[in-house]
Symmetry: C2
């Protein structure tokens, strides 16, 4: 998606350790106009899949999921990362290993809001190791819901999450795939 790639080139900042900061428009300050274009693009790809729900994980996926859900005309559901005292007991729970934070965390959704009739589009801001997405896929399996597609803003193509998910048979649509980054800030996109 050229609009997204251009924005990453213009405003992305590369830090040592293959860290790409896009917190000016994607995951801290958020450009909702760009989010809407992203939502429309995901709708273009998955509009014939009978999507009933957009699923993401807090917090950075929520803005993207809002725009995608609007395009599909369905609710969004965001998985929570810790056991909320207020969430109730009827939960699907699974564990995710975080690459960024170097520790495991739980992801949870309420059983009320996902079931075997749901056809799910999972969305998130980044795909690197794919661990968070595996957690969301596991929650869908627990609910008996089908994962119709996975929509990602930025895939780090030099990490193995994308290959792992595609090899497992999932339809992964990454709107920008980074082939390589240098510590000098050069970003090469996969064409």
């Amino acid at each position: 998606m050229k609009l997204l790639e251009d924005r990453i080139r213009q405003e992305g900042r590369v830090y040592p350790g293959n860290i790409l900061k896009v917190d000016g428009f994607l995951n801290h300050q958020i450009d909702v106009v760009l989010m809407d274009r992203i939502g429309e693009e995901l709708h273009r790809v998955y509009k014939d899949c009978g999507i009933t729900k957009v699923l993401t994980i807090e917090a950075s996926g929520i803005a993207i999921a809002c725009s995608a859900a609007r395009s599909f005309g369905v609710p969004l559901l965001f998985a929570k990362k810790t056991q909320s005292l207020n969430l109730g007991k009827d939960l699907y729970v699974t564990k995710v290993a975080s690459f960024t934070y170097k520790k495991d965390y739980q992801v949870i959704i309420s059983k009320r809001y996902l079931n075997e009739n749901d056809r799910v589009l999972i969305v998130d801001d980044f795909l690197a190791t794919g661990n968070a997405l595996l957690g969301l896929i596991e929650l869908c399996k627990m609910a008996g819901a089908s994962v119709e597609g996975i929509g990602i803003c930025i895939e780090k193509g030099f990490q193995d999450g994308g290959k792992m998910l595609r090899d497992a048979g999932y339809s992964v649509t990454s709107l920008a795939v980074i082939e390589s980054m240098t510590d000098d800030g050069d970003i090469v996109f996969r064409s």
Copy 2:
């Protein structure tokens, strides 16, 4: 806002301890059409205030902030609740005492995205003690930004956060104010 009050009556669930669960449309599963109506209503109230940014706190405020930011045609910024390893060092940081989780946490924003030229609309899903909002106000003060208004979906009118913020001179717009709730599930709205 009648649309929101009706939805709370229809789908809200009251639990002992004055807990109101609205996770079917507001803060777990999210109805983006309702969020858009909420964003439009906040725009109607604050459209002449020169808002440059919508500020909220992860995670439940983000969906509301997306819709409000779209109505105002400005970016949204969400404060993060823990020190992210990837967020960088140039941060405004303050502490919030959580009523729900019975412990303190830090809220942070990047200095890049809020400054003395910003006129801020703060939004959140709930107002009870007001502690999270005080944290967001403090971040605005650190940045020299002016708080033009505070837009809330559901205010628990029987807790003192709303009075405290209004007494301090802030313009607080709560789209549904709950006067009282009973453990039987009866909800009385302030008229």
